[in-house]
């Protein structure tokens, strides 16, 4: 049964203190540290309870292989994008925050479109996301941070329901950065995200007029009044984090387009294979996997 205690913490007066109490090592690592990209621990602490509720109670995310993310040093998390509101990133952040032996923030590279939205733009920056440019990614990796990339880009978010869990071809730029900065790539396959907002149709004409990358029609989206249209379906999630892929190439190889494309394809194919495997084992979206029953 779902416990809803996580939602109660949304009303705490001092979210920062609550975060310190709940997760001291994360707090101590980032409290009072200046960040050039505008990370703000206060805003992070304020929105954390909602995502914690989604992570623990609503989606009941089951993360496998979290130990594959290194405790220190730069690394690149690469995954399949999903859901109209890209919640998969938030779920990885929650997993890193709550279940990892060395809690770290994950800096996701966010597409330009989100930075045209007032309000959202500030929130994105303050919770630790970064505008997706090669310079930003390089800088973050040099600082030894975890960088999250969804190489499918915004197209991956706007997949229709019939295309769910079918990976769109990866943009190979992330491999170039990884080779140039000599960091490992960690593939992450996420099942669940594509069903929280089943996107039946994309209305292209309307999307162009309102300057959105796509205009989805879901069971709730344009129909229900404001907060309700963003309520996702309670689908069980599972994430599979693979062992880091060490790219043993010298940094000069970053300009070898053939090699870069091949590595990007290999990682894409690995993620797709994991997705197929996870889907094959799943009982149904709302009940999850067979081995869930064994858990107390």
């Amino acid at each position: 049964m779902a416990t809803w205690t996580n939602l109660k913490t949304l009303g705490f007066r001092d979210p920062l203190k609550a975060l310190e109490k709940r997760n001291p090592s994360f707090y101590n690592r980032y409290a009072g540290v200046e960040d050039e990209f505008g990370f703000d621990l206060d805003v992070f602490a304020k929105s954390e309870p909602l995502f914690r509720f989604y992570f623990e109670d609503y989606f009941k995310v089951d993360v496998k292989g979290l130990e594959n993310i290194p405790n220190e040093g730069g690394a690149m998390l690469v995954g399949n994008h999903s859901g109209l509101l890209p919640m998969d990133g938030g779920m990885i952040t929650m997993a890193m925050l709550h279940s990892h032996p060395s809690p770290r923030r994950v800096r996701f590279l966010v597409t330009d479109w989100f930075f045209t939205l007032p309000g959202i733009r500030e929130w994105i920056v303050k919770t630790g996301q970064v505008r997706a440019t090669r310079e930003n990614a390089t800088k973050l990796l040099r600082n030894g941070e975890l960088v999250g990339v969804y190489p499918e880009g915004i197209r991956g978010v706007g997949k229709t329901f019939r295309e769910r869990y079918r990976v769109i071809d990866f943009h190979p730029g992330f491999v170039q950065v990884a080779i140039a900065e000599q960091v490992p790539i960690i593939p992450v396959a996420t099942v669940g995200g594509d069903e929280i907002f089943p996107n039946f149709v994309n209305i292209k004409g309307l999307a162009q007029t309102v300057r959105m990358p796509f205009f989805p029609v879901t069971f709730a989206f344009p129909w229900l009044p404001f907060p309700l249209m963003f309520v996702p379906l309670p689908v069980r999630w599972r994430m599979l984090i693979r062992k880091p892929v060490e790219l043993n190439y010298p940094p000069e190889k970053a300009t070898d387009r053939k090699l870069v494309l091949k590595i990007a394809r290999e990682i894409q194919y690995d993620i797709q294979r994991d997705l197929n495997q996870l889907l094959r084992e799943r009982k149904s979206p709302f009940t999850g996997w067979h081995d869930d029953d064994d858990e107390p």
């Binding site: 229709t160 990976v167 294979r273």
Partner: protein, 272 residues
Amino acid sequence: MPSFAVCYRDYVRTALKADRHFGFDLRTVARIEPCISFLYKEWWKVEFDGLNMIPSTGPALIVGNRAGFVPWPAFMLMYALMANKSGPRRLSIVGDLDWVKDERLYNLLVQVGFVPWSSANLKHLFAKGEIVAAFPEGLSATCKPFADRYRMLEFDWTRLLPAVEEGIPIYPLATIGCEESVPTIANLDNLAKFLEMPAFPVTPFFPWFPFPFNLGSLPVRWRMKLLKNLTYPRASKNRDKIEDTAKNQSRFIEGDIQAELNRMLRARIKGN
């Protein structure tokens, strides 16, 4: 027979010269030709891309995704290669035939060009310069549930080992339409075990109708696409290295086919 010889003159010429070690029989092909050409042209309206990539002489291995209990994609590929006006080729299909106990069925399959899978048989075919098709998902893919359509099972990499050893070019083949034409509703495991079959599918046609009609299918449009062959280093004598290459190749080919299936499905949804 005469009309077949006229229509497929070049094919007959090459097939008569081809290796008949495994029991290939041109007369059987001529007999089933009206049936498969009807399926190819009228019923499924197969669109085949990339046929010109197949070399007109010399060995090659085509690796595809598998669907349905009856190996229709193999038949369609066979027909496409046969009806190819510029340099038709005869196709041999390697697969597991051990479970086929019925002699008439076995003979039919062998005469059409099926070959029981074994490393030695594959090497024999390559040495004769034949084109071979393999479906390395194995028999477990014959009864994929409809919800898992166009999601590949893991390839059995040992199936590619003989080709990698000999340095034969491997062409990935992606087929869409095949899984919707004969949708699998259920798989009756116990009955399959009892009948000593690899699977017992329940389709809208299969156990319900009398014989020829239970092989029926829905008129779905098919699309088949041959992809560029992968280049891999010519294998050395080192056994471990050969196996590693085969493993990598099979993973990459599987991913290639899956990615192409995704692309084709997306194109179909968008309606082009």
